[in-house]
């Protein structure tokens, strides 16, 4: 395997050797990939909610509204990050809901929802950021039909450029923009292929 490394690196050097000069890295404004401003929205949360709805995601503000949503959807048993479970269980809007704090693979189809912490969110695209440091179980955030990411408002970033500046050194960061989807069959959009069919972001402070 080491031989292949030298072989490939040697070929690269040979390929580049005839170049008299090499293309410069361009000067570019870091704001270049930032979308045009949205004057219609008075806060990042408003913009985020609008953008998340555009990708068929569901923004929810506060635990009261989240508990109500779960009851109305008839979802009563789910996986929950252990760090959040006590507070949620104690909340009146969660009365009657069962939150399990250990994700068991054999019971993957029993969990009707999964609640994990969001590492952040991106207002301009309606995206939820999940990282290993904050996600108690990758499977808990991915396999239930409904995934709920709990977001603190000080981690709601305006754009992708700012979000990347907050990567830190986490080995796994995922941006989830709406539910899992495919258009492989005749271009018809179907949600919930492998991951959640419903992606919720709940603002909590």
């Amino acid at each position: 395997m080491q031989d292949d490394r030298e072989l490939v690196m040697g070929r690269i050097r040979d390929a580049l050797a005839p170049l008299k000069e090499r293309a410069e890295y361009p000067e570019w404004d870091p704001q270049l990939p930032v979308c045009k401003a949205h004057p219609d929205f008075s806060s990042d949360w408003e913009l985020f909610s609008h953008k998340m709805q555009q990708v068929n995601g569901t923004p929810i503000a506060g635990l009261d509204a989240l508990g109500k949503w779960l009851h109305e959807a008839g979802l009563t048993l789910g996986y929950c990050d252990p760090a959040l479970a006590d507070e949620l269980r104690a909340h009146p809007a969660f009365a009657g809901l069962t939150l399990e704090t250990t994700f068991e693979r054999a019971r993957v189809d029993d969990y009707t929802f999964g609640i994990t912490r969001a590492t952040g969110a991106i207002a301009e695209t309606g995206t939820v950021m999940l990282s290993d440091a904050d996600t108690s179980s990758r499977l808990g955030a991915l396999t239930p039909w409904t995934h709920i990411a709990m977001l603190k408002s000080d981690t709601l970033y305006p754009d992708t450029v700012t979000a990347i500046q907050h990567f830190g050194d986490d080995p796994s960061i995922v941006w989830a923009t709406g539910p899992s989807k495919t258009a492989d069959v005749e271009g018809i959009l179907i949600e919930g292929v492998h991951g959640p069919g419903v992606q919720i972001c709940c603002l909590v402070d």
């Binding site: 992708t160 500046q165 796994s172 492989d184 069959v185 271009g187």
Partner: protein, 468 residues
Amino acid sequence: MPTKSQQEIDRFARDLKPDVYQSVYGGTKATTEKRYEVLFRDYPDPDLLRQTAGQIKQHTLENLDKYLPQAEAALKANGAQVHFASDGDAANRMILEIMKANGCKSMVKSKSMVSEETGLGHYLEDNGMKCLETDLGEFIIQIDNDHPSHIVKPVAHKNRRDIAKSFEREGLGDYNDDPETITRRARKFLRGKYFEADVGLTGANFVSAESGRLTIVTNEGNARFCMAATPIHIAIVGIEKLVPHDRDLALFTALIGRSGTGQHLTSYTQFIGGPKREGQPDGPEQMHVIFVDNKRTEVLASQCSEILRCIRCGACLNVCPVYRQASGHAYRSVYPGPVGAVLSPLLAGSRFPELADLPKASSLCGACNEVCPVNIPIPDLLLRLRDKAKTEHAEKAMKGTPPMGMFGLLASQPHAWRAAMTMGAAMNLTPDAIINIVPPAAAWNSCRQLPKWRGGKFRNWMKSRSKN
């Protein structure tokens, strides 16, 4: 329309079933419109984005000798194991070795164009391993033992009835061609397989040399599932996928979704820098990254190195009038459409003559260049490859091309040229049956309308103009 054209791609276009044509044409047109809408709505100057992205990629390619070792070091520092494969066979062998060394028997696989190039799935099956595609489109391709026809939408050539029949045949339920039912059945079947598998394989859309992070984009979330349920993650990555910095990723993730599918971002955009951290219950304990050459260094050394900027968004396929008529299988290689017409003959190496006709499958309208998010001058590259085919006397590329020697002679003799221009007007009165006696004219006439002769007028116009 029956055609006597000798170009292989024309025959594919002729034989394309009407419903396949409809789904390819409709799908590509809709995506092109969405791309336009999203890019122009979001940015005051989308062209500047494309140009900058192109410059960043060109700079990275021309400094690969610096960035590749940098990415390697960053990945290793994150706990990943890094390998290099000089060609497809070497890459396949390495993957098999990693699997054997860890006692693995089965793999779930996310979409990766490099693994299509190397024929990984068949190789692993031949060596006693199970390898299951998890992208819905690729899964359908796998059960049908077919080939993808589009970079982003591999089953662009299949309709729901075809897919329903395949599912029924594979025991995935009774015939039902409702797309939602098809998708739910795939979900149910595949999630069990993720949990059984020992290895999750992905490609990577970008690799930041600065942090070693692999950026992997999918809409279905299958790559994330592969990296949540299995203990070993292998990423097979072309050496051209590098970008210098993490901040560049903002530019490229913005462009790939908007250009390919008309989305601001693909549903799942993952940034993976290493194996899972201690204490995390799910995720791979080992991460292997295999950087694959497979003739990319030959392309880098060629006159067409710009094609290595390609980020596989599929926008050039969607906009291409030839792709829309002929669909992806017409390109007879892993990469179809305008990008394929350049890349496939180059990656073919000594088999270049077999695919040397592909660069001719273009009207050189320039639409592919206009939509390309990394500003690849595809029409120029096609011309360079046509020249290469001619220089190397590639027979396939010559088929259907009228010999130009006579024209050259005529064009260099002013008297003969003038006479020919005058006589040419007679062609407008000549029946096709007579014109078709000349073989090149017959070939042209077989699939196109010979235009009315309008030659000679320019000289008269010039003459009368200079008199005034």
